[in-house]
């Protein structure tokens, strides 16, 4: 599953996990809440744009009026309902369950009257908003239409679709959707759409999930659980993007000399002194428990955050973490 890179001849010296990411059609950026998923998604989109990749950034929305951290990175309140340029070279769109369901109904019910009847049925709308897996199905179908979309000249409308995924459980209910539903509905138009979706999502050459984490105890544990869950739903994984890794300014001899007095006095700066040590321990634990590449993104001041994350992603293995035990793969 992890061998995807090879098919694209992307392995070898100087190839970063980012190069692999940029070759996919669809990339899910996932991870526990509060680890900076949307910053990383926005940064990856910026990199794609700089490399000339036609990129579409998405997030899954329930309500178009919802607060969107991803849109904030592009100076907007929210993402548009249909793909639109949100910043030069980057398009954005909400993956809205309702519009996916409508598209699906229209494509299945060839009779216009029937489709209109279906869409204006209050009962059907209620069923679709709460029924089992229907929400995920709508999102799934909307994504599929973006994957298929072509321009007038026949080229793909979006070479890369980057999705800022919701928290762990919701991510797994989306990646696990095709298998679950195909057991129930093995034939018919839903099955066909699910299989087509699988042909993208379960192909490591075309799709990949990246888990964003931070180098602390609980986030690393949850990251490992999530990697496990993704594997169970047959979703290919591209690696861990370790966000906000504290940069260690101290030399080993400075550390040795200051350790005791800092523990005793607990001065300002003491927390920052300890953080890199804890981070190295957690990165080593992650390293010991997964073979996936781990990309370290150094902790940055908030201003200009996204550009700096983009730089760190581009540099890949050159992330300034001189004493890190976690090798940047």
């Amino acid at each position: 599953m992890v061998r995807d890179v090879r098919r694209h001849r992307a392995t070898g010296p100087g190839v970063t996990p980012l190069d692999a990411l940029l070759k996919k059609r669809v990339v899910l950026i996932t991870g526990k809440g509060g680890v900076g998923r949307s910053s990383v998604t926005a940064a990856a989109a910026t990199v794609a744009q700089r490399r000339g990749v036609r990129v579409l950034v998405c997030e899954i929305g329930d309500d178009p009026a919802d607060y969107s951290p991803l849109a904030r990175h592009f100076g907007r309140e929210r993402l548009p309902l249909a793909p639109q340029i949100i910043t030069p070279g980057i398009q954005g769109a909400l993956l809205l369950a309702r519009s996916g369901q409508e598209l699906f109904l229209k494509s299945v019910l060839r009779s216009g009257t029937l489709a209109r009847a279906a869409l204006s049925s209050d009962a059907l709308r209620r069923l679709l908003s709460a029924g089992p897996s229907f929400k995920e199905m709508g999102v799934f179908f909307q994504l599929l239409t973006y994957l298929r979309a072509r321009r007038d000249d026949g080229q793909l409308a979006y070479q890369l679709i980057l999705i800022d995924m919701p928290a762990t459980g919701h991510t797994l209910s989306l990646t696990g959707l095709p298998e679950l539903l195909l057991r129930l509905v093995p034939r018919g138009p839903i099955a066909a759409a699910l299989r087509e979706g699988q042909s993208y999502l379960n192909d490591p050459a075309l799709a990949s999930a990246y888990v964003v984490a931070i180098a602390e105890t609980l986030p690393v544990s949850e990251c490992l659980e999530l990697l496990d869950g993704l594997k169970k739903t047959a979703m290919p994984t591209g690696g861990v993007l370790m966000n906000r890794v504290p940069v260690d300014p101290f030399s080993a001899s400075e550390r040795a000399a200051l350790e005791e007095v800092i523990a005793r006095v607990n001065p300002l700066g003491g927390e920052g002194f300890l953080k890199p040590v804890l981070a190295r321990r957690e990165i080593a634990r992650l390293r010991a428990n997964t073979e996936l590449p781990i990309t370290l993104i150094p902790e940055l001041p908030h201003a200009g955050l996204m550009g700096s994350i983009a730089d760190a992603l581009i540099k890949g293995e050159k992330v300034p973490m001189p004493q890190a035990q976690g090798r940047v793969a």
Binding site: A123, P166, V185, R187, L218, E254, A257, L258, V261, G269
Partner: protein, 373 residues
């Protein structure tokens, strides 16, 4: 009761019957819920903390298994170590949504045979835990039942993780929308009017075009079996909404100093007002505000630094500068939250905890801070 201008978390812990902790994922909501319940039990109450999908560590700290079918007592030695003595008690229940859904089916069906028909249904088995709002619904349902039973003085609810703090309240409403008689009836075979029969014919056509004939029929029969249960659910959702709007309940928004905090706080407050729910305060986790009282690192405060360490002091000062700035930002943020809370609610800060801070000693520290606030 207190006058409105003196809302204190410490009082809520001692007087309310239900405290609902809302918040986006990753803000320390589960830890806060555990600390609140610990604080209440230490203050002499019989307490239950109800949570969905908690971190393993928290279950370990409290010494309870994950996903038991009913609430379990935190082991006596841990309760004693945490300073909880009879008649006070601390129970925990880490809910498994599937188990609770099964339980609801058994309770809401008229006969064991009816229950078995639903539980054995293929569609139910595959998707019962995936019905939108089911997690949220099961949590609310369990909460309501436990409060009615009166075994506990206080139930603290840790709402399921979601991107938006209020998903928890919206999801059951969607479920209620589905089960509202009129909606579900449209899918069922009609005997009454000609118009209704024609309408349901159209829907039948749509369903078989979408799902295929075979599955569409299965789906309809699933819904028929479920419709009785659905209407019972509907009553419950409304009862629960009324109950949650009552004077025995307090809603807290747990949040962190992330840049989106204020926007989220604002949204949450408006939404609770709109839904008529008793919003009582913000808990700002991971606040670094107390760092302002720490000593500045220099030759004077750091005595006996060996010569090899001297070059490190300037680096430490750079870190100290950053920490001080963060501390000041968090202080300002807390003030803003307090202003936003107004006179009917409060805002308090909980300091950043050491890594993986779910051990009992840390929880007690947080519990005491909450009780004193």
């Amino acid at each position: 009761m207190n006058s409105p201008d003196t809302i204190r978390i410490g009082d809520l812990i001692r007087t309310r019957k239900v405290i609902v902790c809302c918040g986006a994922g990753g803000v320390g909501k589960t830890t806060t819920a555990a600390a609140l319940s610990l604080a209440a039990a230490r203050a002499g109450r019989r307490v239950l903390v109800l949570t969905i999908d908690p971190s393993k560590r928290l279950a370990e700290t409290l010494g309870v298994s994950r996903n038991p079918p009913t609430p379990v007592a935190v082991p006596a030695d841990r309760q004693a170590a945490a300073g909880i003595s009879a008649p006070a008690s601390l129970d925990a229940w880490m809910l498994d949504p599937k188990l609770v859904a099964d339980e609801s089916v058994r309770r809401l069906t008229k006969t064991p045979e009816d229950a078995q028909r639903v539980l054995g249904n293929r569609i139910y088995q595959q998707v019962s835990a995936m019905v939108a709002g089911m997690h949220e619904y099961t949590a609310m349902e369990a909460l309501h039942r436990l409060v009615i039973e009166g075994r506990y003085d206080l139930v603290v609810l840790d709402t399921p993780p979601s991107r938006h703090a209020l998903d928890f309240l919206e999801a059951p409403k969607r479920l209620a929308g589905l089960v509202e008689g009129r909606a579900i009836q449209a899918f069922l075979p009609k005997r009454d009017s000609l118009v209704a029969r024609a309408a349901s014919k159209v829907i039948e056509k749509i369903l078989s075009a979408v799902f295929g004939e075979e599955f569409a029929q299965e789906l309809v029969s699933f819904m028929m079996t479920f419709s009785g249960i659905f209407s019972a659910l509907n009553v419950d959702v409304n009862t629960m909404r009324n109950f949650l709007s009552g004077p025995d309940v307090a809603f807290l928004l747990v949040t962190s100093p992330a840049p989106s905090t204020l926007a989220e706080a604002h949204f949450f407050q408006d939404k609770t007002k709109e839904l008529g729910l008793p919003f009582k305060g913000f808990v700002l986790n991971r606040s670094r505000a107390r760092n302002t009282s720490k000593r500045w690192p220099d030759g004077e405060s750091l005595d006996q630094v060996p010569p090899e360490g001297l070059s490190g002091i300037a680096k430490l000062q750079a870190l100290a500068h950053t920490e001080l700035e963060a501390a000041r930002r968090d202080l300002t943020l807390l003030t803003e939250l307090q202003q936003r809370a107004g006179s009917n609610a409060t805002a308090m800060a909980v300091p950043e905890l050491p890594q993986g801070a779910d051990d009992m000693v840390t929880l007690i520290t947080v519990a005491d801070a909450l009780a004193a606030a």
